[in-house]
């Protein structure tokens, strides 16, 4: 395998918080979803996995979350292999899933309360929960409303508030900005920036080249289970990410990415 990889970030080299080592996943039906993928994300860094549908982004996240077991290789969180000790690994991460609906008959605060407690934090009071919702930009009057009337952006904000309150050193995000309007998307990216500055290690999957370029410290381009290229933010200034993306993508998914 020839990975088009430029020089690595020195901080990541030193102590990666999220790391995959030759991570491979072959499903029961024989499809090779991940093929020896290795990358690292250090604290205070945002890593964006960029790729079309079926590239292996979500599989990678699933492996980090311990929802599936790797065929070979490992996904490490703070040095803990997720398939060996998933519960201890999960204590160190927060997760924002794609298009999460949450519990439609709970209010925003009730949803927050439940998931934060589930994450192991029982010390938060209503004010702190509200403050987190304020921070992600959910209007005050929506705090006590049931989720079933919420727009996608509002739900995404709740999910991010949960991740913030959990106060884990790492955050995993699955297509966090897909389907958001430009304003919401921008606010969302801003928040991610703030979290990075607080020292969180952030791993996100996306097929939005624009957002990836805007926020990621490092971008990994994935195609059909392989990590085909990796770039530092600084290098992207000079290089056309879109051209690079299309170059490494074959087949119909490339066209989709271009037209987007």
């Amino acid at each position: 395998m020839n990975l088009d990889r430029t020089n690595l970030d020195p901080t990541t080299e030193a102590q990666p918080f999220l790391q995959t080592v030759e991570l491979t996943k072959r499903y029961e039906d024989g499809t090779l979803a991940l093929d020896r993928v290795s990358f690292e994300v250090g604290p205070g860094r945002i890593y964006a996995m960029l790729g079309g549908n079926g590239a292996g982004k979500t599989t990678t996240l699933n492996l980090f979350l311990g929802f599936i077991e790797p065929t070979s290789g490992e996904a490490l969180i703070d040095g803990i292999a997720t398939h060996v000790d998933p519960l201890r690994a999960k204590e160190r991460i927060a997760y924002v899933s794609e298009n999460v609906a949450l519990y439609p008959h709970f209010t925003a605060l009730q949803n927050l309360d439940f998931f934060v407690r589930l994450g192991g934090r029982n010390d938060l009071d209503r004010e702190q929960l509200s403050a987190a919702l304020d921070r992600v930009g959910l209007e005050r009057q929506a705090h006590g409303k049931r989720l079933k009337g919420f727009s996608k952006g509002m739900r995404q904000k709740c999910a991010l508030a949960i991740a913030i309150l959990k106060d884990a050193p790492a955050i995993l995000l699955d297509e966090p900005t897909s389907g958001l309007d430009p304003k919401a998307g921008m606010e969302f990216t801003q928040l991610l920036g703030e979290l990075r500055d607080e020292g969180k290690a952030i791993l996100m999957s996306t097929h939005d080249i624009f957002r990836a370029k805007q926020i990621a410290d490092r971008v990994g381009i994935m195609d059909r289970g392989r990590l085909v290229a990796e770039r530092q933010q600084a290098e992207l200034e000079g290089e056309d990410l879109e051209a690079l993306y299309v170059r490494y993508m074959a087949g119909p998914s490339a066209e989709v990415a271009c037209s987007a």
Binding site: V100, Y103, Q110
Partner: protein, 482 residues
């Protein structure tokens, strides 16, 4: 963590409008079942008492206990109106004649087929059909629904062991669906008390056990629904599968299993035994008549000229007749007992067969348990006839006592003698006191016995619970949350 999940599950189920709506309907139906049960009981009680009183009233003015053929009937019992079982299908009335076969006739459905058209809405029906559907309606998307909403991924991204999560959900859902049911059930109990239904403490115990069986049954449905939900990825699929299983388990398996299994065991028909008895009776009677004829001719021939008092003739004849009739009824009883035993043995095999197939469905197990506890199961006709036989003996003794040893077995012979001088040597006729008639009081089988028989089905229901909950548990541990 566990209690957090339980509380969330409770709140999530109880807070939905669908719970509020369906729970309202279900509560109304439960209360309705209790109300209708109480009304039917009170109504049936009044009818029964009227019939008994009418029976006694009709006896007024009679002068000879030999003329009395008491008719006893199965009294309405509070639990039988809540769990009707087969109580409306079996004969309710028995006409007690001195000796010989007793048959219960006039089942309520035969008498009032209009009632058989739609049958009753009793507590058993509510549990078996409505509440099972209710449990499915809330549990079908317990797992697959969370997956569809994405909350499952979010929740499991936390350091929560899957076992804790599923246990919390199962406990929460079981509590959310069964505990609220206790409210209408308790209100229903109050309704019974207020309607003046005389519930003994024993009845309360039985009712409590019926409710327990019902809750176990609801639990089994819940467990099964969660299991299916943990085996499927779309809630619409799990609902379809559950609905089809519900139809099979509630509407199809119990009747067809019993129909097919019961018909594959040949049981001698009632006609056959009745016909055999009838033929024996005719044959014996023919012999006896010959004997009586001979007796009469012999006795008359011996003393052609002596005029006796009528009482002495009647007395001697009665003695002779009674001997014959006792011998006759003994022979009949023997045959009857043999036939009944044959039939009972075959029926026991049939019952074992049919019920073990039907019990594949928890609905059938519940039904058998509930009717057994309420005393309206298959052994109801047996108990009733046994007690009617006991009464028959009591009445036989009573009659002998009253009439000085004459029995009314077989036929009544009235020998009317008019003496030559035209004076009628008749006995002194005194009206009988109908209140002296021994009363018939149906005793439901004792609780201990009922419990022993119901224990199997209660255990089976508990086993279904364990099995389904374990299935749900294991299936969830292997559930693909992607």
């Amino acid at each position: 963590m566990f209690s957090l999940i339980v509380r969330k599950e409770l709140r999530e189920i109880l807070g939905t409008p669908r719970f509020v709506a369906t729970f309202g309907v279900v509560s109304l139906l439960i209360l309705l079942a209790f109300y209708l049960g109480a009304r039917s009981y009170v109504h049936a009680r009044a009818q029964h008492e009227a019939a008994v009183a009418e029976n006694l009233r009709q006896m007024e003015g009679l002068t000879d206990w030999l003329q009395v053929r008491p008719s006893i009937s199965l009294p309405p019992r509070p639990l039988a109106s809540l769990v009707t079982g087969i109580s409306n299908d079996v004969g309710r009335n028995v006409s007690v004649m001195g000796l010989g076969t007793l048959r219960a006739s006039q089942s309520r459905y035969n008498e009032d087929p209009v009632l058989a058209v739609f049958r009753f809405m009793d507590l058993e029906f509510i549990f078996q059909v409505v509440l099972s559907l209710f449990a499915i309606l809330f549990a079908f998307d317990l797992i697959s629904g969370e997956k569809e909403r994405g909350t499952l991924r979010l929740a499991l991204s936390n350091p929560v062991p899957r076992s804790t999560w599923i246990l919390g959900k199962l406990c929460g859902a079981a509590a959310a669906l069964t505990l609220p049911l206790l409210v209408p059930l308790v209100l229903g109990g109050l309704l019974l008390v207020m309607s003046g239904v005389p519930m003994q403490s024993e009845d309360w115990l039985r009712l409590g056990l019926v409710v327990l069986a019902g809750l176990l049954y609801v639990g089994a449905n819940l467990g099964f629904a969660v299991w299916v939900s943990a085996l499927t990825h779309r809630s619409s699929t799990s609902f379809l599968v559950l609905l089809v299983s519900w139809i099979l388990a509630v509407l199809v398996v119990p009747p067809s299993a019993v129909m097919l299994a019961a018909r594959s065991v040949a049981v001698p028909s009632v006609d056959e035994s009745l016909s055999q008895l009838g033929r024996l009776r005719t044959q014996l009677w023919a012999e006896d008549r010959k004997a009586i004829d001979t007796y009469l001719q012999d006795n008359m021939a011996e003393e052609p000229d002596r005029i006796e008092t009528a009482a002495a003739i009647v007395g001697r004849f009665n003695e002779f007749f009674q001997q014959r009739s006792e011998a006759r009824s003994q022979a009949l009883e023997e045959l009857e007992a043999r036939l009944a035993e044959q039939r009972a043995n075959r029926q026991a095999i049939q019952e074992r067969w049919a019920f073990s197939v039907a019990r594949l469905s928890p609905a059938a197990a519940f039904s058998v348990a509930a009717t057994g506890l309420a005393g309206t199961a298959l052994d109801l006709p047996r108990h009733f006839i046994d007690q009617a036989r006991a009464y028959q003996e009591v009445y036989e003794r009573f009659q002998k006592e009253k009439t000085g040893g004459r029995s009314s077995g077989g036929i009544q012979i009235a020998v009317r003698v008019a003496s030559a001088d035209g004076e009628e040597p008749r006995e002194e006729e005194v009206a009988i006191d109908p209140l002296e008639l021994p009363t018939f009081d149906y005793q439901s089988p004792p609780v201990a016995e009922v419990l022993r028989t119901a224990a199997f089905d209660l255990g089976l229901l508990a086993l279904f619970n364990v099995l389904f909950f374990a299935g749900a548990f294991v299936a969830f541990l292997r559930y693909d949350v992607r």
